[in-house]
Symmetry: D2
Subunit: 445 residues, 4 copies
């Protein structure tokens, strides 16, 4: 039941096999593991980095540390731990992200102005909530506590990814170009030409078996991955690997950013308003291309998977190549039989790479489906047929975002390893570029 | 072949049965009929009304008159009529709406600043192009001319609807509340309670048989209605009629506009930014509700179909009612066997009404599927599986808008009668309210 | 007493010598003369031009026609004409420009959306108010009626100038570049080098003798020209003529628009935000410069006085030339002994010209002080020592604008001839360019 | 010569009497004193506070620490200290505030995103520059070095004030309302009714004797305080003390913020756009008023001088009271004979107070002219007659801001004690409220 939490190296708890055997106390070790990992990710930071919000969508590390804690306090300690008193009366307001049911929220664009509480106070908040959560998990054994704690851990894993992407946006836009860590990135070897793998389609099933958030027969999934349902697919083909930076550079050099016919109308408007000329974090100096990575600025690795393009760029590139993006059903149908493995957070690179066993798949199957970069699909994020949001406040978790955003699949190099699965639906606005987002091509078979 | 153009009362040409028999000259009468109708719609206007652009999306009538003419000049006369010279060298630039392939465009938000060319010059432009089109249609008989002329007429019918909706936005926001015409609107009788009609779903087909724009075996359709394809539907149910203003008023009175939990996140943000408290054109004075119509301001008719709500409002209302909106496949599957009839432009009311034969359907089938108001669906506008845009410039007609917009179905009270069909896909942004847009509820069966 | 109104050719009333002799009926002819002139200025317009508001600050001609009429209705007919009933109950709201004391105002940026009332209705409004004003002026003889009517006529003369400048902004930004009239502009002869005329300064007096708006011993002036007061001037020098377009072109060619050191900080910010590269209405094609005039586009006349620069540009040019702008006291002290004559509206050119008797002054005195272009001064618009605004609503006429604007002096080629005088203080924001605004240099002596 | 630097308690260097005796080395102690004070002001901060930019105009403390250091590096060490090498090659770009002559600048609104350099690196930068400045001051004895070092110290004192006002804006907008220090503010005693003190005016002199920035016969002043010049004043009267919060509260209670007639046009627009209902930092709960101070939130002290109003509010209040604001010449003429003493930074309160010896003046002269709050004048900031900016880059210090801003006089409770003088001209935009700005009334005598 607990799989999905424990892919992190060194996790010392094995998931129990079925719901019946689950004890809340089984969550103690995963709880500690996930919470500790969040703080570990912040270790390389200077204290000055914790409070910065480099754009409205990229929250400060300190806020992530507090908000993930707020989740456990609000949804577990307050309702379920007898006599629990909030750490601070205003934290409910300050660290509520978007739950209208809980109450008013501190304005999102002003998270970077919150010099108080200080980092030390936030760390004390974490310690306080951790201690009380441990008390709860060893004393109260209800299905609500179990399922909500699991959700809270998945929630925190999502914010672990955001800590890294938001921080990259901060450091990557600093004129000094500081690096986050001094990991040496591999230089990728040349790739074989991209090929397409055919799928026959037909009436297939996608989505998660579970009907609700929480511990179910199989494994955890979010409410918006449910219900599992049938859908009809025409024959289609998927690229056998991700698009590389070098392939994308050809698009740039061919005038991709100055040819409106290649772009969706809203994409072209965005490109003009933002002055886009290449992917985020790319820099051109005297004809040479560089890219900012969490290991600092380096010459662009043309054989590594492309990252940090918007949906608009992914779509325009596909059109230029005479291809298209996959629908999410096509993607999931192709990915479902595959092992969930790839360049995820535990590789420690925090950047897409081309090498490794994940880059090749036997039998010519598509490779790199998991990890490296989130893959934009052609599908607008919406409810699956028969979808019902989780009851109560946590129904705001996903359902209210089912509009204007595009589905991404497969996880990235900063996704916690047990966090991703074939049915996982991520979603961002089509103009977003600060996530590790890339391209897999598709076409009609 | 020409059906789809000729629903307008008094159209005096019968469609020929097959492509082979088609002569371009058969298009003369429909051409004249459609072109004349555009001008007829403007007849009640004061000359002062022709140049007004009350918001970026609502173009001045003078611009519509010119742009629809530009279409024929650019796509037919210039390429196909020997020795044709443009009426004015700068009109290509001034009246190009969004065709990047054709060239630069005069900025859309400034259409209302174009005091020159004057209305008289634009009418002369129309006369000039009409005369030359008549020359073309009686001399050049090619499939391109035929198909592109037909497209141009459908294009002009779309702008006929826009003339009325854009004009309504202008007059309806004028503090004097002037009416467009003095048609007396019927007061609707009380409606029976809304009921749901079940559909069993399964593997169904939607979309248009035709593979391209133009004259095909069956009838005209736009490229984005193609190809006809299979899709899988779960059992579902559709409301047997449109939601009325009175039903929506209950939502307003119940705090619908002050309850964030009912709204999509982007919808709630929009509501707050715009200060929405009720549908567009509604006014509340001392507890009584009024609505602006093209016949002027009147007390809100609670039994008439609701109009002028955004997708966000439609979605929130459905959630409040414990229902949802239909997908476009659900809608089309239900509508396909039905006769295309309803309160369309030829009724002359230019406002949704409840009465008439269209409001009831035998056998409890859903009524009012066509006409009255465009029905928001839950489907984001995108390409059908296998979709290929029309080759060349006209590929910009629809394809580049397949992002961020929602599909609407069924036509409205200002849709030209031959213009609508079950496969017709209209699309607007989820925040748009100035079209005649309303709600049909759906739910899982 | 009535001088200031009657410079217009054909005015057939002589001002009476003193207040005591004044009869309201003496105002009949000037009233008719001014009102008629407003309509005469609109004669060359196409009906399409009347409703256009090309930017927030440039109102449609139709609005000017109505607002000047509203002034007489609001401040004269309603309070003083027994049994007068407003022409339309909502016009008070629609055509109030900024008088908070009168009540709410229709939003200024939306004046261009007012397709109703139609032009014909506005002309009927004018006729109605004219007829009633004539009744009033021949029946009610009070000082209030006299002084307020005189103010209303000066007010209308101000709007005559605005009709032309606002219209120029509309036509001059239309890609078709239409002209307002077909007057042939003179090509100016080469000018002698600019020289400076010295003034010794000392304790001087500026401002108007009158203590209030209205008929006084001497002549009409606005409240903000009062009271006449002493001020101390250091020795200074004024340019003996206006700066020409050719002189300004040298500044452009010398990198004036790319050298931040020449500019005020706010000016440089404005230049960058607006993308300024040259004066408004100038166009450069292949190294040649053209300018839009009310007679259409023509090659830049380098010997004509420069027009359509902002205060920021005037200030930067002066700095580049090693000079400065004059303070308003310096300007007025130099101008006061001069005859008020120059290229004003009655020349019919509606454009600055270099020729004519006004361009040279005997004894080396500064020429062109009146007419051609308004001259930016270095003085921020504020109250004179001892200033008291007119009591009541008309105190809003000038007083509330005494902040953030710069004083301009001397009138322009579209100023009504009797309207200007040495004490006249005009004021615009430092970034404004659509008025006929130019440069006279000054320096310390 | 060095007076103006050394009012800070504990400063251990006495100013030498004349320029001739000045040695650069005499500046060592004042240099150390001022530099140390800046860091002392930051001592109460949490490290989290150093990087916050709560609005575009309020820079982070870390930036102030670096920019004041940049000043010495750029204008002294680089030109005058042989073999000096910059601490970091990009700091010239990062910490240049607005000197276009020096080069491009890091965008001001993004100062709060600069997590690197870290605080520790900035402190190392300070130490490095301090050590080298000490080397310079003990080795190079030129007038340039002396005068520019003195300017740099006055510059740093200005930023000391900004550190406190910018920090107050950050903490004062934090929902937790943290205090900067735990100084106990005095509660002010009731004040006698405000009275007016008459001045006869006439031809007076204002401004500073010095012709340039730097060490002169008398004392330091900025270039924009020069030259001393004559001006003519009408008889006038000044309030004998500052307006209190209680007096302003009457204005609030009397509908001051809802009566457009009391406001300048631009002020009313600003009030509506910003939603102003009371001064900055005031809060109303259940009819009681509170104010945020650097000692935290407290009940409004009605007898203390009002602070944190914009020019628009000061002007509207004065109009409501039947008075006006003083011109800067009126203010300076009244202040010039007075001793420069008051509630300045060295009182340690960092808040205006009513008590103390400064609050009363013998002979009924105006009191509180120095310290407590900057006093808005009615004068727009511009050049004095004959003004010449300092040559070179430092000419950008003041001259380019002579537009759109209003002059303030007298210093505030956070002004360094030796920093203020009667001729001192401060300037802010009329909508600014985050400085300690208050009101002294004036009227015509």
């Amino acid at each position: 039941m607990l799989n999905g939490l424990l892919g992190w190296p060194g996790a010392d708890v094995q998931p129990s096999a079925s719901l019946d055997d689950t004890e809340a106390a089984d969550l103690l070790a995963p709880f500690q593991s996930v919470r500790t990992r969040t703080e570990a990710l912040c270790e390389p930071l200077a204290i000055d980095d914790y409070g910065i919000q480099p754009m409205d969508d990229a929250s400060p590390p300190k806020w992530h540390l507090a908000h993930t804690t707020w989740f456990f306090e609000t949804f577990l300690l307050l309702p379920y731990l007898r006599n629990y008193r909030p750490f601070h009366p205003q934290f409910e307001y300050l660290f509520n992200s978007y739950y209208d049911t809980v109450g008013e929220q501190y304005p999102r664009p002003k998270r970077g102005l919150m010099s108080r509480p200080t980092l030390n106070e936030v760390l004390a908040y974490r310690a306080h909530v951790n201690a009380n959560m441990e008390k709860l998990l060893t004393s109260v054994v209800t299905e609500e506590v179990v399922s909500c704690t699991i959700l809270g851990l998945h929630h925190e894993e999502q914010h672990q990814e955001l800590i890294l992407t938001d921080l990259k946006y901060n450091l990557g836009n600093n004129p000094l170009g500081p690096s986050y860590h001094d990991v040496q990135l591999p230089v990728c070897a040349s790739r074989a030409a991209l090929e397409f793998v055919d799928f026959s389609g037909g009436l297939v099933e996608i989505g998660c078996n579970n009907g609700t958030i929480g511990p179910q027969k199989d494994a955890f999934c979010f409410d918006h991955e449910t219900p599992r349902h049938r859908t009809w697919l025409m024959p289609y083909a998927l690229g056998n690997r991700l698009v590389t930076s070098g392939e994308y550079l050809e698009f740039v050099s061919d005038g991709g950013y100055t040819t409106p016919q290649l772009w969706l109308s809203d994409g072209w408007t965005t490109l003009q308003r933002e002055g886009w000329q290449m992917p985020l974090y790319w820099h051109e100096r005297d004809g040479e291309f560089f890219e900012y990575t969490l290991s600092g600025l380096r010459r662009l690795d043309e054989h590594a998977p492309l990252a940090h393009v918007s949906y608009y760029e992914a779509d325009a590139f596909a059109r230029w190549r005479g291809a298209r993006l996959a629908t999410e059903a096509e993607w999931e149908h192709a990915a479902c039989p595959c092992e969930v493995a790839g360049n995820l957070m535990d590789s420690g690179w925090f950047h897409p790479v081309a090498g490794g066993t994940h880059a090749a798949r036997p039998n010519g199957q598509p490779a790199q489906l998991f990890g490296d970069v989130w893959e934009w699909t052609a599908t607008s994020f919406g409810p699956y047929p028969g979808f019902t949001p989780t009851a109560g406040t946590l129904g705001e978790y996903n359902g209210k975002f089912m509009n204007n955003q595009m589905v991404l699949r497969g996880g990235s190099c900063v996704t916690a390893p047990g966090h991703i699965r074939a049915t996982y639906r991520n979603f961002f606005y089509p103009s977003d570029r600060w996530q590790f987002t890339g391209i897999r091509l598709a076409r009609d078979a």
